[in-house]
């Protein structure tokens, strides 16, 4: 048995008297200072934390870790998530005490090394994307989008252009796009996709007027296609006085090939946890630096790093800055990893990455075409979308294929997204996967396609080989039990009912 059968929570393994760590016994004050604190400031309710030994805690968490798929153990063809390999030298760099032991409010002369990294990372991003200045503060892609929407608002407000309350997003966009715009109270309007999955120019023109603040775009889009009319789109939006926002989720296949800045984008965010190989951590932390063209620099969150004769320093904030979007300077540990990656990549590495990402995706698409319907024919960039619509007769949904793949040791692709494709299965192999891995994946998909015909029930019920079968998510949502305390209460209630 490789995976532990024990599914108890730490709280349920607790036993009074055990402890996981010892702390200094010595007290320096002659009298306990807490005796002088007014009683009503002190905690009255007991703190029911688990009591476990260090060895038990280690076993507890290591066994949990083994119930996970991860990039280090499995292939993750998750569309739009860019689950590439996370290099270990990045981890080494970020764990250096010379960085981890830095306090964020230390003086400039004691932090020249980290300021240089922030400066150089910004320079690299500027080169790669064709933008003029970056803030490193945003903690994630969505946080970058929010920052971007704040910049859009500040820019139009500075020009007294108050009527611009509309933000356009394609109907294939990530949910974070409309949600970010709505936070700034913008009115979100969807632009239709054309038959090729690209922005429908006619529909775009219909929506473009003097009220448009911005168009948010992912390019290549979520169908894995390059918006070939991008220059025309940029011209149309700018002509009406709107700004163009680039969602960097799909930047990976453009490395060294083409730059959002040259396409006409005014604002962009880059997901360092996608394109720059930093680990996803089970959901975060990421990092979402936001870059702008010259006319938007004054509005960037302060402070920014600049290079002076005597070294690196924090630049004086512009009074037009939108202000701080984060407690301190950003997710520095993630930025150090991305910087290390950029240094290993170098100029010539950029093209190798985008080339392999595009080749791998097109290869997979070609190999899967005999077995599944491809949403849009023709070459793709770094990802493509299959539609499982035709499997409706067997009662098999895209999500079921994803679940069955888990039994073959592959993580599921992104399922049911983008919403413009019915029963979508979105596949992004990334550049770090070998041909052999892709071939094994194709074999698994082939077998599943066969099963859909011969034994659809097996696909509908999968997976069978993981620590758990499909969790009942309807039950979880109807009766939310979100903590150990909820569990205890639930149990007591059940006992009462039984009695």
């Amino acid at each position: 048995m490789l995976i532990s059968k024990d599914d108890r929570l730490s709280f349920e393994k607790s036993k009074p008297g055990r402890r996981g760590v010892t702390l200094p016994r010595e007290r320096f004050c002659s009298a306990d200072p807490l005796q002088t604190v007014p009683k009503h400031l002190l905690r009255q309710s007991p703190l029911l934390f688990p009591e476990m030994s260090e060895s038990d805690i280690i076993r507890h968490f290591i066994n949990l870790s083994r119930k996970n798929f991860s990039v280090d153990t499995h292939f993750y063809p998750l569309g739009s998530c860019t689950m590439k390999y996370n290099p270990k030298v990045n981890e080494w760099a970020a764990h250096q005490e010379k960085f981890t032991a830095l306090h964020p409010l230390q003086s400039e002369e004691t932090t020249q090394g980290i300021l240089e990294i922030l400066y150089e990372m910004e320079e690299g991003l500027k080169e790669i994307t064709g933008m003029d200045r970056f803030t490193m503060q945003p903690a994630a892609g969505a946080h970058g989008e929010l920052t971007g929407m704040m910049l859009v608002h500040a820019y139009h407000a500075s020009r007294g252009d108050k009527a611009r309350r509309k933000v356009l997003v394609p109907d294939s966009s990530h949910g974070t796009n409309p949600a970010s715009a709505a936070l700034l109270d913008f009115h979100v309007v969807e632009v239709a996709s054309d038959a090729h999955g690209c922005v429908d120019l006619k529909d775009l023109e219909r929506h473009l007027d003097e009220q448009v603040a911005c168009l948010m775009l992912t390019n290549p889009n979520t169908l894995g296609l390059f918006e070939k009319n991008i220059l025309e789109i940029a011209r149309l939006v700018h002509e009406k006085g709107g700004l163009l926002y680039y969602d960097g989720a799909n930047l990976n296949p453009l490395l060294g090939l083409a730059r959002p800045g040259d396409m006409g984008f005014d604002i962009i965010h880059v997901n360092l946890h996608k394109t720059f190989s930093t680990p996803h951590g089970g959901g975060g932390p990421g990092s979402g630096p936001v870059g702008v063209k010259k006319h938007l620099i004054p509005f960037l969150p302060a402070p920014l790093v600049e290079k002076a004769k005597e070294g690196y320093r924090w630049a004086k904030g512009d009074p037009r800055s939108i202000g701080r979007v984060k407690l301190f300077h950003g997710n520095i540990g993630v930025i150090i990893r991305a910087y290390t990656y950029l240094k290993v990549l170098g100029r010539e590495g950029l093209l190798k990455v985008s080339e392999a990402a595009i080749l791998n995706a097109n290869y997979l698409k070609e190999k899967l075409k005999p077995y599944f319907q491809v949403a849009i024919n023709g070459p793709c960039m770094h990802e493509f979308v299959l539609s499982l619509k035709s499997c409706g007769a067997q009662g098999v949904h895209a999500g079921d294929v994803g679940k069955r793949l888990l039994d073959f040791g592959f993580h599921a692709p992104t399922v049911h997204f983008p919403m413009v494709v019915p029963e979508a299965l979105m596949i992004e192999p990334t550049e770090t996967e070998s041909k052999e891995t892709l071939d094994l994946f194709v074999e698994a998909m082939k077998q599943i396609a066969h099963e859909i015909e011969t034994d659809p029930e097996n696909v509908r019920q999968a997976p069978f080989t993981l620590p758990v079968r499909r969790p009942n998510d309807v039950l979880a949502a109807r009766k939310p039990i979100l903590s150990y305390r909820d569990m205890v209460r639930e149990k007591a209630l059940a006992a009462e009912v039984a009695a």
Partner: protein, 445 residues
Amino acid sequence: MPYLSLTDEDRGSLLRTIGVRSLEDLIKDIPASLRNARISLPEGLSEPEVRALITRLGRKNTTTQDCLSFLGAGSYEHFIPAAATEIAGRQEFLTAYTPYQPEASQGTLQAIYEYQSLMTELTGLDVSNASHYDGATALAEAALLTLRQTDRSKVLVARSAHPHYRETLRTYLTGTPYTVEEFGFDANGNFDRNAFASKLDATVGGVIFQTPNFFGVMEDLEGVSEKIHANGSLMILTADPLSLGVFKSPREWGADIAAGEGQPLGLSMEFGGPYLGYFVVSQALMRRIPGRLAGLTEDADGKRAFCLTLQAREQHIRRERAGSNICSNQALCALAACAYMTLLGKKGMREIGEINCDRAYYLRQKIAKTRNFQVNTTQPIFNEFRVISKKPFAEVELKLKTQRFFPGVRLETFYPELKDQFLVCATETKTKEDLDQFAEALSQC
């Protein structure tokens, strides 16, 4: 580059399968005018070279380990158990994606569930999310939550709360129909009760307090939640989670939301991030909490299982009608905090609180005896306090720097009226000798 697996032969074979001659045939959609941008970057480095570079850059930093540091103000130097570092470094956690496929993510999901359980226990409130970016952003979103819930337009915040929290809050509310107003503090650094009461009107949706506040003072919030609730508003409390083993919890103070910075729970200072925004709400606000939630359920065989739940609140489903746009969070930081809290356990959480108080009170007493520095020795504090210098602080700082001290955070930067005052922080990482040495150095100033 060692991260790519395609050989020249593979590349040829892939191209043949795809049925094209070269990459160029696949990227014809990219307009020619966009190609061939001149990208000025140096050549890539080998691993030994990149390690030498990182080491060289690291040496240009002087860290809190190279000096004796008393810096706090929102980022704290604490002991991190080796076992906690091991757990958070585990690659199966580190390199996993968001647990949207629960069958392949029970490890991450159960860890999040335990984190949520620990945070509800610590704060006393009912529902914790799986993490937010950091304390400042968690607080800003908490403010938005109260405004939506109450359908009101203004949020009040104590000026004794962290200046960066307040600035982030202002940034978040600019461009929205909402406003933020502040109420001041008294000479001792406690929030001003009269100012608070006078600003509490029918437009106020939420009120934010921090304890210990930015000056390290444990705020006395007696009677505060009653006033806020009587006004139909909600109370947000941001507390140092490490203080909650000994000091009153947000629930005990009557708060509806506990939101703030979880960095003290076993995360290194790392020049400001990645940190951990914690976000815990009362049952009544469960449907409005931003971010991911792990829930308990059972699988098709009736076996215990965890999955993300109440997802219809979130941006990937509700799009422009979602209450928040958060997607990626700080899951790995939450895992580190979960491991930290589990290791400290019931006794450890109380002891760590006691030890922080002990170190700070001891140092404060010592500084009280110096000639040129003044402190208030009767105020309840946790691990940080305000020092008033009779000499220009710049001079003091310069002198102490040559003796390899980071004496503390200058308050004038944030509060222009607080000239020559600074914040000093002492946690369990300081030995008696450290504290004596620092007090001695101050007495020589």
